[in-house]
Subunit: 337 residues, 2 copies
DNA sequence: CTGAAAGCGCTAACAA
DNA sequence: TTGTTAGCGCTTTCAG
């Protein structure tokens, strides 16, 4: 049956629109009897409030915006699951936007948010993002925004991250302890928080273990599977080739394995591999892959929870809020032996 | 700078609200000079129209709803990419809802859509969905809805699918030609369109090749990784165990590989495996996995394009519209030898 | 070419 | 306890 609006419902019941509205909101100024009549009729006539009318009136959209670089990635899809689980519980709706790793896209998306489409924003910035005016502008407009995973350090708002420095350290340490001496680090950005912190951890481990880190072992990979394959192949073909690889994101797993296969480099004998990854298939790869597994679902969930806390209570502050949820190194065959 | 609304902009320019609105919409009744003044001021004062006010007035939300069973799945995340690519081009926003394979959830989500939150819907139904009243109700309310991948056959609206029957056939044929005689088929639902069509193809191939298909080889897997593992283990432990497995969805890959590993069954020597999968890692699994790869991105893109065609021209009909985009069998080591 | 005014569907202050 | 009314921000007749 066609659904009906509040006006039609009022006409049907010969009650005023406001009585209906109040009854529907269980207002104390409405008698129990009337409430029941209204509720029954609402069900019967299939009344569904127009969300945008309420939003316009009430200045809240019951919608949050989520901005991520891409969705075809285990980390981000699991994070969405976490976000969705709490949004659903709170009766909120989730608008998802993909920056596709482009700063320009990200800027346009955030600009749109300033019109009132969303009550709050959860973002993991693009690999290109170095300026943060677009983010500060949004926050200045009164839209609460929380970073998860990929943050802008210079923006003073809540950040949900994992222990990137420590993870980078542990990854390098794991390999150094296995006597690797030329550990390549595959980064995806010169500016990205996660890349840099993971890299710093990697460097610190080298320092602590008194192994010099070769600048040539730090390689930047573009956002293009084929190009990455080429870059990695070149890295592995140089005369002083690495004896281990740390790939800082999941996307790099396949090109690394492929390149090793092509060059007949045995993992782990000729070269050891660790990836930052949430791939379910890590354990059934050939060979099974040692991973730094991030708490993707939890990070999304935590970010969303905090956002809703802010949305529900005006006086909650997001400033200086920094939650770090640790990642786990899971050792498998790609670094064994 | 704080963004401004149309009223403030009007006051600022000493023009009427309606003039501003018309100028912003490039109306022919406004002089070029005024248009320029308005546009400049809009940029300067950072005017962003309130989307919900426009929606309320114009009866269109510029938003589409996407309902999928889950997002942490290569097929669906790639389909989202396809959908998003055209939504972005059209200036539409994408609300994503997860049914988590629950009919109840799906029903609630669609019920919400009846209030005017979205202009159109793209859906891939849950594995539990057998009734389709919730879908017909929505369509009856005038919300265009298009199925992609998982459809309800009894609903007369557009459906974007892949060639499930043929894919099931090809998968079975591929294995039958390699002398497999006890091919297990791992299904995820008794009712789901994709499961049934793939299964029918599988059965047809058996018939064509004059190989009897054993009912015991058709196994239903729940939506739970651990339980699936158990189910598959049991399947492989029976005395007359299968010599091949067709897994009808990506999620089943890991449990199949794990179970084989545990039972020391060599893939492909002891048992061959094909999965319906869009996993990027298929080619680097141990052994590399023969897949039926679906045109996920294209399916999402095609579904979205058709929806927008409908949204843009009222006279487009979605009835009897059936687009089938073929899948590809990619033979790899899991079925070789 | 520009402006006044109605109204999209809803909520809430104020009246009755 | 119920009803009247104003107005959220915008678009769109209709007048001027």
């Amino acid at each position: 049956m066609k659904s009906v609006n509040i006006k039609e419902l009022a006409r049907e019941l010969k009650l005023s629109i406001s009585t209906i509205s109040k009854a529907l909101h269980d207002s104390h100024e409405i008698s129990a009897k009337t409430k029941k009549i209204v509720l029954d009729a609402a069900a019967k006539f299939n009344y569904i409030p127009h969300p945008y009318a309420s939003s316009l009136r009430g200045k809240k959209s019951k919608t949050i915006g989520v901005v991520i670089p891409e969705v075809a990635d285990s980390f981000f899809s699991l994070a969405i699951n976490g976000i969705e689980s709490v949004a659903k519980e709170k009766g909120y709706h989730v608008l998802i936007y993909l920056s596709h790793e482009s700063f320009e896209n990200e800027k346009n998306i955030l600009q749109q948010f300033r019109g009132g489409r969303v009550d709050g924003v959860l973002i993991s910035v693009s690999r290109e993002t170095i300026k943060s005016d677009h983010i500060n502008d949004l926050i200045a407009d009164g839209i609460p925004l929380i970073f998860f995973d990929r943050v802008c350090d210079d923006v003073d708002t809540a950040k949900i991250t994992t222990d990137d420095f420590e993870s980078g350290y542990r990854a390098a340490e794991h390999l150094l302890k296995k006597q690797c001496r030329r550990i390549a680090f595959l980064s995806i950005s010169y500016s990205l928080s996660i890349s840099n912190k993971r890299l710093e951890g990697y460097l610190q481990a080298h320092q602590d273990y008194k192994i010099p880190a070769d600048k040539k072992m730090i390689v930047y990979c573009p956002d293009d599977a084929k190009k990455n394959y080429t870059v990695i192949k070149k890295l592995l073909q140089q005369k002083n080739r690495p004896d281990a690889i740390i790939a800082s994101v999941e996307k790099l797993t396949a090109p690394v394995y492929k390149a090793c296969e092509l060059l007949k480099l045995n993992i782990p004998k000729d070269i050891k591999v660790i990836c930052f990854s949430n791939l379910v298939t890590a354990s059934i790869l050939n060979p099974s892959l040692t991973t730094i597994t991030q708490p993707a679902f939890d990070m999304g969930k935590t970010a969303a929870k905090l956002l809703f806390r802010k949305l529900e209570k005006k006086n909650v502050s997001l400033k200086k809020e920094n939650i770090v949820i640790p990642s786990t190194l899971i050792a498998r065959s790609s670094t064994t032996g």
